[in-house]
Point group: C2
Chain length 370, copies 2
């Protein structure tokens, strides 16, 4: 393998594929990045066996070939090189890569590329496409509610359902729930209903940029996302996602709206006291006014007030301040709309765009402490 | 105690005094910030018994008084409040402080201020002043060489010597040494020769801003630094600082100069391989060319070249790349001047300003590994 490429382009490419490099050392070759040159196309690949990323870029190729290089070391070296032409030359007998740039010369020992696993194929798949911006927006709102509890694998991911003209994503850790639904321009031949791992959502959120379209293919075991020359292949989570529809209330007793940034500030401040204990705050919504209170025995007490518009009777509820802050951070509006039934029913944040996107966020109440 | 103050001003003041708040909980009151109002002057104080900081600021005072508040909590609350007028009111029976700002109300439990230790007095002291910019520059260059080894306390600080018309600072961990000397406009009555703790240098570096003059007073046990309304009082380190003068070579066999940023880049890159082992790089300086090499058995090899100007015979030396990078980071020039005797003598970085400031940085060689 022999080729040359500009430093900046190679660094960008490595920063994309590094996201699927294995973090643990169980299989050393997976802590590496696979490089393969075919004429003027350099293919970079990485995988931790859950997630795989493949990225192609144009280089000035001279001799075809392939190698696997230790990711951290390779990335650090390319980062520190000046923004100049880099010449790469493989010594295949030693699996050693020579990197030349101006007056710098590195020789890095790699691995035999034949030992690197192939990325899984997505076969007989259902496929459709989404604007990257919308998909990223959906991911942001849904990934906050995924669970960290590995004993219930289905909850560590997001349910992903595609029907004719509609795409839905749902996640829950049983104490809160994100539901998002968006109209689909392309239609799918067969209904898709799978669970995407939380870590995949995280990496898609990092990689997706606004001005693209994402091609999505799904089979029984894997999902593939293709955008901007990047291919992300993710294993699906097996198991059954809970019946979330039963949890979302159809009706409410009181609806109110508040200024989003005012509410965000007030909840963050009240949480400064609340988090010294279990991070529980009390909301009291009545005509024209919302009070937010928190107290921690030895430290003190916080009280916040803000103006709201309310329809229906006054409401009081205890909720986790962290769960509330999470949704306040991802909402992109001036106002927030909240619905409530009573102190033992979830608080529901709702938003709907003109384009027909629907977002519902549920926070389960905490029993009164006093 | 009752007063009002703008959020931004109070937050700035808290950010200054927080730097001496005790990090461990052995004496809970030291994790707090002492507040005391005397008419329109609010005095803030903190100390971990090694370092103390005092800061005065003007407020709209109503009722005098004092309290000690938990630092982290108080700082977090003030940070999250809007940039508006904050009203503070003390309930002395409960040692509870009420903080009001727009629609936010906090009640924070504090400590009895009588239990807060007084900051030490600096008595019968020698005193002089330095421009803050110069002092900060000196601190930056000297703090890199302080030792982390608590078994030799004198080396964890910097020797601080003031004679007629000259101020010197020296630090060493025995493997490297910083020596800095600057002319003094004011003269001192008596010679000062003390050891300032490394942590004090760190905090002075954080607090000093360019456009000030620093008043420095030193007695047998403490040093006080006064600038921009801030008073920093530091305990001195007891013990004898090693006789550094013997270590600094009077002469050299070879002198060479190189472009600072090119050298910095080359050493950083060579260190990417070196740090996989003991971070040792080999410098080879000969006519017109410096080579920097590093190797780590299983990983690979780095080779860097750059143009230098050399006077004298060629030189080869093994040194710690980290020690070299530390000095390359703090030098503020286009060129670096280096002097050497041989592979068993220290590498010496020298710089001298037109104003008469002198900086010498020594790195002890490492025996050849091969």
């Amino acid at each position: 393998m022999k080729f040359s490429i500009n430093q900046k382009e190679l660094y960008k490419a490595l920063n994309i594929v590094r996201r699927a490099v294995a973090k643990n050392q169980t299989l050393p070759i997976l802590t590496g990045i696979f490089l393969s040159l075919d004429n003027n196309i350099l293919t970079l690949k990485s995988t931790d066996l859950e997630l795989g990323i493949k990225y192609d870029l144009k280089v000035e190729g001279q001799v075809n070939g392939s190698i696997v290089l230790p990711a951290t070391q390779f990335l650090n070296i390319i980062r520190e090189l000046p923004n100049q032409k880099i010449e790469i030359d493989l010594n295949k007998d030693k699996w050693q890569l020579e990197i030349k740039c101006l007056n710098s010369l590195f020789k890095i020992n790699g691995f035999d590329p034949d030992e690197f696993p192939n990325l899984p194929k997505v076969e007989d798949s259902a496929n459709f496409s989404l604007p990257a911006k919308k998909f990223k927006e959906m991911i942001k709102k849904v990934r906050i509610s995924t669970s960290k509890d590995e004993t219930q694998p289905a909850l560590t991911g997001a349910f992903f359902e595609v029907e004719t003209e509609k795409v839905k994503m749902v996640s829950t850790n049983t104490y809160r729930l994100s539901y998002i639904e968006a109209p689909l321009k392309t239609s799918v031949a067969e209904k898709i209903a799978v669970i995407l791992p939380g870590s995949t959502l995280q990496e898609l959120n990092n990689l997706l940029e606004a001005d693209e379209s994402v091609e999505i293919e799904v089979d029984n075991n894997y999902a593939r996302f293709t955008f901007a020359g990047i291919e992300v292949i993710s294993r699906l989570i097996e198991g059954k996602f809970p019946n979330y529809e039963l949890v979302i209330p159809d009706e409410s007793n009181s609806k109110f709206s508040a200024d989003l940034s005012q509410l965000h500030g007030a909840v963050k401040r009240a949480s400064l006291i609340a988090k010294l204990d279990a991070n529980i705050i009390t909301l009291l919504a009545e005509d024209g006014l919302m009070e937010i209170n928190s107290a921690e025995g030895s430290s003190g007490y916080a009280h916040e007030e803000l103006k709201i518009e309310i329809e229906g009777p006054k409401q009081k509820i205890n909720i986790d301040a962290g769960y509330f802050i999470d949704v306040l951070k991802v909402l992109d509006a001036e106002e927030i709309n909240i619905e409530m039934i009573g102190p033992l029913n979830p608080l529901v944040v709702k938003s709907q765009s003109e384009a027909g996107d629907k977002f519902i966020y549920l926070i389960m109440p905490v029993r009164s402490q006093a």
